[in-house]
Symmetry: C2
Subunit: 140 residues, 2 copies
Amino acid sequence: MQNIVAETLKRSQLSVTDSRKKILEYFHHSKGALAHADIERLSGEQFDRVTIYRTLQTFVEKGIIHSIPTSDNSIRYALCKDDCAEGHHHDNHIHFVCDVCGTTFCLDHVTIPNVQLPAGFKSKQTDVIVSGICGKCGNI
Amino acid sequence: MQNIVAETLKRSQLSVTDSRKKILEYFHHSKGALAHADIERLSGEQFDRVTIYRTLQTFVEKGIIHSIPTSDNSIRYALCKDDCAEGHHHDNHIHFVCDVCGTTFCLDHVTIPNVQLPAGFKSKQTDVIVSGICGKCGNI
DNA sequence: TTTTATTTTGCAACTTTGTTGCAAAGTGCT
DNA sequence: AGCACTTTGCAACAAAGTTGCAAAATAAAA
């Protein structure tokens, strides 16, 4: 894990620091998406709030993570797939938010259906957010 | 317009007040979605920030407006269609955000494609956010 | 129409969330 | 190890959102 994390950072031309390693590890260990507050909690206040903000921002710029649209006011982030590089993000994402446990899943293997837009509208990116009950919570 | 607005409020068992009437009118006049800040600006600080927060919250609860997921951290709201009632929102929404003018359109007449979920996942609501260039900005 | 009960508003104070500048510490390179 | 450069943490600030409560507005009743 340490290696994957360090390599990712180097590949993105970022210096390998404690905070970046730790925060990136959180994303690798997490099944779902993470918000700023989650990371603050996970790290036990080890890092300054500002550092976390800046790290997340850097990761987004470098194409390591992407932000997920939410209805409540919390930005959540998830790891990008390997072929997401700087300035070359995936154009389509599908996310599933579980109403019970609150986990946000990034469904990489689901294809996004094509949407028929009104005349004159040009689509560049499509985000789908499905909410409901996830596999785990449905079996309780 | 006055009538539609007042009737909507009464139908939702809300007392008809200046702020509610004005704010609901803004939604009827606006082609796109509105954020808290938009309403504050439109009203020229006529109403307290707190009143606007509470009014929007009430409208969401009563099924008069709904919130739209966004990638940036700003909650935006749009009018619900007529058959949205308290506790009985539409299950599906499709929104288009123009990258040029920033307007968020609520595309009511576009059908939402069905999404194939992993086994065990149950979908309750689907939100689609398409971003790109709207008809107006594409013709400049 | 006036009175009364209930709801809504505005204010003040506060919490949470996000941003910026800058000195100190850490990283990468020779 | 020493030097250039990047990143971090602190402090101060700005913006966004929340809560309690008294005053004002609305709705309903007399």
